[in-house]
């Protein structure tokens, strides 16, 4: 079993009467791309802030890289790159100058960090940026700068909260490629997002937060397991229905949804029966189904 990078036991945060995070047991392993999903207001950001020692837990414990947080933050945080909620920078300074400020504050030898600022700007696609102040940056540029800032310390773990916010489709694609590249290089990524599609495309494990509770925590390939039903595309729908009596769950003019354990046997049966099969596709659970099933109504919805 691989090492636990982020582990929490009964992590809870109450703000007055409101329980923002309710006893969650996170388990993020080395080499994971952990998709941390949840609706707006479900407690994702509060959880991220507790992991980074910005918000202090009401009860429960959190360990990051095997050390208790926030107590050992001095040792843990230099190995973490974080984008918390939204990027932030000194508006009058240029992006490069902002990174230099943080680079100057970083621990470790100056010699080993030489050229680091240019390197991370290159990584996030801001290598050619001029000296204009961050105040004049677009939302997408700020987001890229935020990512550059997270990468500055060559972190073992990236904790990213909504990293593609404000990016155009090309930008989202670039960020995804960058994250996958870092992941291949051994970086563990904790990706908090409310965008199912974003998580589905790169996550290896998924945790779903619903109103402060962790309702799902599982490998993505397990969540997306086959449902035991198969789509059959065929021009001979009526013939197929006659052949598969009782197994057909639904159908339309061009396809049927069939409950079947052995897809190969189904295909053989159809072919033997003279049904022309143009496509067979096992139905899989989608992440959306899993999330909607596990989580309740949207928390920003207020019914009368």
């Amino acid at each position: 079993m691989t090492a636990t990078i982020i582990g929490t036991q009964g992590l809870t945060k109450r703000f007055g009467a409101i329980t923002a995070v309710d006893g969650i047991d996170l388990d993020v392993r080395e080499g994971d791309v952990y998709g941390f999903l949840g609706a707006n207001g479900s407690g994702k950001t509060t959880t991220v802030r507790m992991l980074l020692g910005l918000v202090l837990a009401t009860s429960g414990t959190a360990e990051v890289l095997g050390r208790p947080m926030p107590r050992d933050g001095r040792h843990v945080l230099p190995q973490i790159g974080a984008l918390v909620e939204s990027p932030a920078a000194y508006p009058r300074l240029s992006g490069r100058a902002n990174l230099r400020v943080h680079d100057a504050l970083a621990h470790g030898r100056r010699a080993t960090r030489k050229g680091r600022v240019d390197q991370v700007l290159e990584q996030v696609g801001l290598a050619g940026v001029d000296e204009r102040p961050v105040a004049a940056y677009s939302l997408g540029m700020r987001q890229r700068l935020g990512l550059a800032h997270a990468l500055l310390g060559e972190p073992r773990v990236l904790v990213l909260d909504e990293p593609t916010n404000g990016l155009d489709p090309q930008g989202i694609r670039e960020v995804r490629d960058l994250l996958l590249q870092l992941h291949r290089g051994g970086t563990t990524i904790f990706l908090s997002s409310h965008l199912l599609a974003e998580v589905e495309q790169i996550a290896t494990r998924v945790g779903v937060l619903d109103r402060g509770r962790l309702v799902v925590q599982e490998r993505l390939d397990v969540l997306k397991r086959p449902t035991g039903r198969t789509y059959v595309r065929t021009p001979d729908v009526a013939q197929a229905r006659a052949l598969l009596d009782g197994q057909v769950e639904s159908y339309d003019e061009r396809s049927l949804l069939v409950r079947v354990d052995d897809v190969a046997a189904l295909n053989a049966l159809l072919v033997r029966g003279g049904v022309r099969v143009s496509g067979l596709a096992p139905e899989r659970h989608t992440l959306e189904d899993v999330v909607l099933e596990a989580a309740g109504a949207s928390s920003d919805r207020f019914e009368s």
Binding site: R49, L52, L105
Partner: protein, 274 residues
């Protein structure tokens, strides 16, 4: 810690606001000097800002007069803004969370901010003193009576005594501003906007000044933060009148300890939710 201080001080001297504030503070005593030169009308001895009646004959005393001019209002406002911005400003910009996860320890950050405010006060006092000296000598001349500067009490003062007492006065002014900075820093850890922290601090100072004019507030006057601010004038009496200077030092020391302590306790355990 050294790196953090380097970054903070670098940001202080790079900031346009720092220099605009200092320029504005510096402008007031300069205007006073020009008016004195043009009209030659000083306040009658014993009235108006300290030393002003003396500088008409001796421009080298003008730095002290300039200090007496900026200390009651301009400098404390600038300090309240500067220190009020310390934590709340970073929180409002969102840069606070990135500093803390860098990681920069919370206590260290608070100390660095305090040092930065002290540097700002020193810088301002230095600029004001130098400008006032140049302006004073140029405009008001150096007509010394028997080659010596006179004390507020009228007795002569040697150059050595003058320098010593001036540095004592500067140190005292710095301590008074440190008291203001401590209150503003504390508020800066409590509220989320720098404006609220600065306004809160000014409210304390204005309230204190108002209460000092009220006879009914006599019993608490000795504990009001602005009570002994101008006691540095006593350093230029002969002999030095230590009573108010000592009380002022103790009082400001207490304010600094209490509010820095409260600010530290609050900030060290605060949830950073912005």
């Amino acid at each position: 810690m050294i790196r953090l201080l380097g970054v903070e001080l670098h940001q202080l001297v790079r900031s346009r606001r720092t220099w605009v504030t200092i320029l504005l503070i510096d402008l007031l005593p300069t205007i006073v000097a020009v008016l004195l030169k043009l009209t030659d009308i000083g306040p009658r001895p014993g009235t108006g800002p300290a030393f002003l009646s003396a500088v008409l004959t001796d421009g080298t005393l003008f730095p002290l007069a300039a200090m007496a001019i900026v200390l009651p209002l301009f400098l404390p406002i600038a300090v309240a803004i500067q220190a009020g911005d310390a934590i709340a400003g970073e929180a409002e910009q969102g840069t606070l969370r990135y500093l803390l996860v860098r990681p920069v320890g919370r206590t260290r950050l608070l100390v660095a901010k305090l040092v930065s405010v002290i540097a700002f006060v020193l810088l301002t006092l230095a600029v004001v003193a130098v400008t006032a000296y140049v302006v004073g000598v140029l405009l008001l001349g150096t007509q010394r009576v028997a080659g010596a500067t006179t004390t507020v009490s009228g007795t002569p003062l040697t150059q050595g005594e003058l320098v010593t007492r001036t540095f004592l006065a500067l140190a005292y002014a710095l301590l008074c501003m440190l008291g203001v900075a401590a209150i503003a820093l504390f508020l800066s850890t409590v509220v989320d906007t720098p404006l609220a922290a600065a306004m809160g601090t000014m409210a304390v100072l204005v309230g204190s000044t108002l209460l000092l004019t009220l006879d009914a507030a006599d019993s608490i006057a000795a504990f009001l933060p602005t009570r002994y601010w101008l006691a540095f004038v006593d350093l230029f009496r002969d002999p030095i009148l230590w009573r108010d200077v000592v009380r002022g030092t103790l009082l400001q020391g207490a304010y600094v300890l209490v509010f820095l302590g409260a600010g530290w306790a609050n900030f060290a355990t605060k949830d950073i939710t912005r």
